[in-house]
């Protein structure tokens, strides 16, 4: 009798967990842990390539040589979007900012893309300037079969953009998809070709932007996974060899700055509405790249 109670109790617990994990209000796609429900990276690459081939890549004009880039990550938008809209409003009001970057996990789980986009649209535009928000796919953005929704709003998962300053200096920003913990073989080849092409140009700085972080240096990464080791070293070597100055990533929810030879790898803090220590990163792209972290803890 005792055994039966334990057995039935365990069974109910397991079934309850599966139901909670897979139901309409679920936050975590437990099925995706073993069999990804969004297309794998090489398929996402191919789908994005169609868009990239048709539309090409963007060159933005900076208002000054020492312009600013606003960088945030892991907003995990749900039913509230307070800090997400604050971030949009802040970079839109800055006359020195031609572009902002979101490093992934824009939404928290399924069904929140519409809320995220409505909130984005609701923030008043600044008529005095034109600005752009560049996005990176995070794992929360694509699991639960959310890839079709992601691409509906953001069109592509890999691209680069160039920011040109009034004196003709150019900075290259390479954006790549690591939303399922790998860059895959096709995107890796694209990264190689893009950085080889960049070697022949006269870029002032090269910055790589993605979601997944390279290292597992402290306890904050207890809940987040990395690339495989093979890919960690391959990407670091590739970036370092081609003179990438910085790699910006998120995923960890906690800031970490690691120097790898001449390259600085920055993990930016998360900016969820529920976070007690939320920050975004304000970068000044000048002769050297300066960055500081701005708290949004008071934004509630």
């Amino acid at each position: 009798m005792k055994k039966n109670i334990v057995y039935i109790g365990s069974l109910l617990l397991v079934l309850g967990s599966i139901f909670t994990a897979c139901g309409p209000e679920a936050r975590l796609d437990m099925v995706g842990m073993f069999a990804g429900t969004s297309p794998k990276i090489d398929e996402r690459f191919e789908e994005s390539k169609v868009y990239n081939d048709q539309h090409g890549f963007t060159t933005l004009q900076a208002p000054v040589d020492d312009y600013r880039v606003y960088v945030c990550t892991d907003t995990h938008v749900t039913k509230t979007q307070t800090r997400w809209t604050y971030f949009i409003d802040t970079y839109r009001q800055d006359p020195l900012c031609p572009v902002a970057v979101h490093l992934g996990d824009i939404i928290d789980a399924q069904n929140y893309f519409d809320e995220m986009y409505s909130a984005y649209q609701a923030v008043p535009l600044n008529p005095a300037k034109k600005d752009t928000l560049m996005a990176v796919a995070g794992n929360h953005d694509i699991y639960f079969k959310q890839w079709p929704e992601y691409i509906k709003y953001f069109k592509t998962c890999y691209y680069y953009f160039v920011v040109e300053t009034p004196s003709g200096k150019k900075d290259l920003f390479v954006v790549y998809d690591s939303a399922d913990g790998t860059v895959g073989s096709k995107q890796l080849q694209w990264l190689r070709e893009t950085l080889e092409w960049a070697d022949k140009q006269d870029f002032r700085h090269i910055v790589a932007c993605t979601h997944t972080h390279f290292f597992k240096r402290d306890g904050s990464q207890g809940h987040t996974s990395n690339y495989t080791q093979e890919e960690t070293y391959a990407l670091l070597n590739l970036f370092e060899k081609h003179g990438v100055d910085m790699v910006w990533s998120g995923h960890d929810h906690s800031r970490e700055i690691t120097q790898v030879k001449d390259m600085t790898c920055i993990v930016v803090d998360s900016m969820k509405d529920e976070d007690k220590k939320p920050f975004y990163m304000l970068v000044t792209m000048g002769e050297k790249i300066d960055y500081e972290f701005i708290s949004v803890a008071d934004v509630r």
Partner: protein, 238 residues
């Protein structure tokens, strides 16, 4: 922190050496094995591995193992495991002290891992859990300070392995999930899946074959194939 890590590593090595110095050779068998393997992953494409392993039982309470792998992917590994063990009424409890040095020459990195774990081996099941730490060093390493090193001070290692027959059987098949093997210690959220088996031809020769599957993004909750390896070889016991 890095100094503490080095001190802990030295202390654990010293402790193991002391244990070794106190034990006498037993009657268990030494073994040398040679394996070749084919692998594929999204980063390297196809590659081949060649492994030499030596198993050195010092006595019934202590054994050690040395592993060397060279790969056409230009990744080369050497490792040593020191394993004090204690027989229980059922099964065997062991402590494993694993040191591993990998030269990821293709990408100019060196990776040194120390893993300390506790395991419980039974006839049908082997379970192991512990902690690991890692020092990543970009190559060439010309700066003799700590600045060039990246320390990952705390991570977990684990292994859960099940056998279809008792381990003393002439042939066996095993299923395993672990984030470490003799040639790689991955981060804790990067499990690897193994299917393997052996057959004892006679008292000296054993043939082994095993497969390994690595998924990417399991804990990104969008898991997909990353890589696989097939490995086969022979072991000579004497």
């Amino acid at each position: 922190m890095k100094k503490l890590f080095l001190i802990l590593t030295l202390v654990s090595l010293l402790t193991s050496s002391m244990v070794m110095a106190q034990v006498q050779p037993g009657d268990t068998q030494y073994a040398v094995s040679l394996h070749a393997g084919y692998g594929h992953n999204l980063t390297y494409g196809s590659y081949a591995n060649f492994d030499i392993d030596a198993y050195l039982p010092i006595n019934k309470h202590f054994d050690m193992q040395a592993n060397v792998r060279t790969s056409t992917a230009n990744v080369h590994t050497m490792g040593v495991q020191l394993r004090p063990k204690f027989a229980l009424p059922v099964g065997e409890l062991y402590v494993e002290d694993r040191l591993m040095l990998r030269f990821v020459s293709r990408d100019s990195f060196r990776d040194f891992v120390h893993a300390l774990s506790v395991g419980y081996m039974m006839q049908y099941v082997n379970v192991q859990v512990g902690i690991s730490n890692r020092i990543i060093t970009p190559l060439p390493y010309t700066n003799h300070s700590e600045d060039g090193m990246i320390l990952e001070p705390f991570d977990a290692v684990y292994r859960v392995e099940a056998f279809v027959r008792p381990q003393s059987a002439v042939w066996n098949i095993s299923l395993c999930v672990s984030n470490m093997d003799n040639y790689q210690v991955e981060r804790m959220w990067q499990p690897m899946f193994y299917l393997g088996g052996w057959y004892d031809i006679n008292e000296h020769w054993r043939v082994r074959i095993s497969g390994k599957m690595k998924l990417a993004g399991m804990f990104h909750l969008n898991a997909h194939y990353y890589g696989a390896e097939l490995r086969a070889g022979a072991e000579y016991r004497f």
